[in-house]
Symmetry: C2
Subunit: 249 residues, 2 copies
DNA sequence: ATTTCGATCTCGTTT
DNA sequence: AAACGAGGTCGAAAT
């Protein structure tokens, strides 16, 4: 297919509605070569093989092909794509048995997604200009910042000494000492936590206890907005503590 | 905006290229009322407030509005949307200061995503017909099936007794006994595992030990394709075992 | 390249 | 509604 004159003139999106399969193949192929973001809507089957394997029978779906290799297959419900291929893949498209096959492949791990589109209802190609990146507030990093600025929020007399303290069990979130000079390990979570975080904290406390003198007392404190019932039991069982605190004031 | 005659005739997607903001507002509003899947491409800013809070400065992005309330904002890279709103939200669109504002709101938790589109390059609405669901192979459920069919894969003489065994720490993946009649707890993972899975297994073994007689010996076995170094250390430290096995033969 | 852990994790299941 | 764990988790930082 030769370049559509209407496309050459404009700088905006290129669009085809109800193209034939050969038209769609030429359109998508050219758009991928140009490094555009490509979207398609139509009836297709989808096959995945790699870390697992999956089959998706014929239905209408929305496909998105990103220039970084991402391939997303969306239905009309759910936040997550029904099928996908991660960034780093190579997109290829071809015609096979009168259908448009779009295949995205990557290595390490070896995996492959193939969408076979029998009816293309719509195709579009966008050249994306986006320099901005998202500015987020309310993460665990914000909780850490809040504690370092106001250590008294954890408890009267708490003094942070390090946020990079390495242990054989990994790096602890915040390492410091209390008013009596006892070692304190903080495990931070931005939201309500379950038993997993208690396990993590326990590993840090144990590893740090072995790292220091045998007679050293190490306190473990979980800092989060709240804890579940099971996590509370585990905390008591392990002699660990909890301080309620949110990432934002 | 009155219904475009070309739209009424066709059953396929409805499309607008380079609409004015009022045209786009009417188009999106009608499509949302119809329960269509709506996509837009254009220059916008995005604001989120809820579980956290974020700002995204002006740039070109792809928006997807699903009839279930999902709102996805994609850039030209990355598998994940740069901003989003989960299913269960209500979409609303309006004009504000010559821009198209699309806001998706939900409660429990209270959160809100608003995209302010200053230039609409493309808008489309699709009525999705998709009955099929994905058929996946290679999950943890497949690994469990494989073990129940061939318990000898775990070890000679292993006998599964239950896959629903409840403990105070939750339900164990597989509960059984070895050739000597000792209780065995299996924790299954479909892929290479880190320290978290060891912690999980340890909780089950501990809970089951307390549940049974005080003198009962409970073996804990992690079944997965492989383990990381730190997980291996933890296994040894806790007296737990590892059996290499993949979900698929 | 691998390991580790956070995430506005999402999603399903069960209580 | 809350809790709990899986996920083809993804993504980023550290090693």
């Amino acid at each position: 297919m030769s370049e559509n004159p209407a496309d050459a003139e404009r700088s905006g999106p290129r669009v085809r509605t109800d193209p034939t399969v050969p038209e769609a193949e030429a359109f998508v192929s050219a758009a991928l070569d140009r490094g555009s973001l490509v979207t398609l809507f139509g009836r297709c089957t989808v096959e995945y093989d790699g870390r697992a394997a999956s089959e998706l029978e014929s239905g209408e779906r929305h496909l998105m092909l990103k220039p970084d290799g991402t391939h997303l297959v969306h239905t009309d419900s759910g936040q997550q794509p029904v099928n996908w291929q991660p960034p780093g893949s190579d997109h290829e498209c071809r015609i096979e048995s009168d259908a448009l096959v779009i295949e995205s492949v990557r290595t390490a791990p070896d995996e492959r997604l193939a969408a076979t589109v029998t009816d293309v209802a719509h195709a579009a190609a966008f050249d994306v200009d986006d320099e901005a990146s998202v500015d987020l507030v309310g993460s665990e990093a914000d909780l850490k910042r809040r504690i370092l600025e106001s250590p008294g929020l954890v408890e009267e007399g708490f003094t942070p000494l390090s946020t990079e303290r390495e242990t054989p069990a990994g790096a602890v979130d915040v390492y410091g000492e209390d008013a009596e000079g006892r070692t304190v390990v903080l495990e931070l979570k931005r939201r309500r936590v379950g038993p997993d975080a208690v396990g993590q904290l326990k590993r840090y406390v144990g590893a740090l206890g072995r790292d220091l003198h045998a007679d050293a007392e190490v306190r473990g404190v979980l800092v989060a907005p709240s804890v579940t019932g099971r996590a509370e039991e585990l905390l008591a069982e392990e002699g660990l503590e909890f301080v309620p605190l949110t990432p934002t004031g």
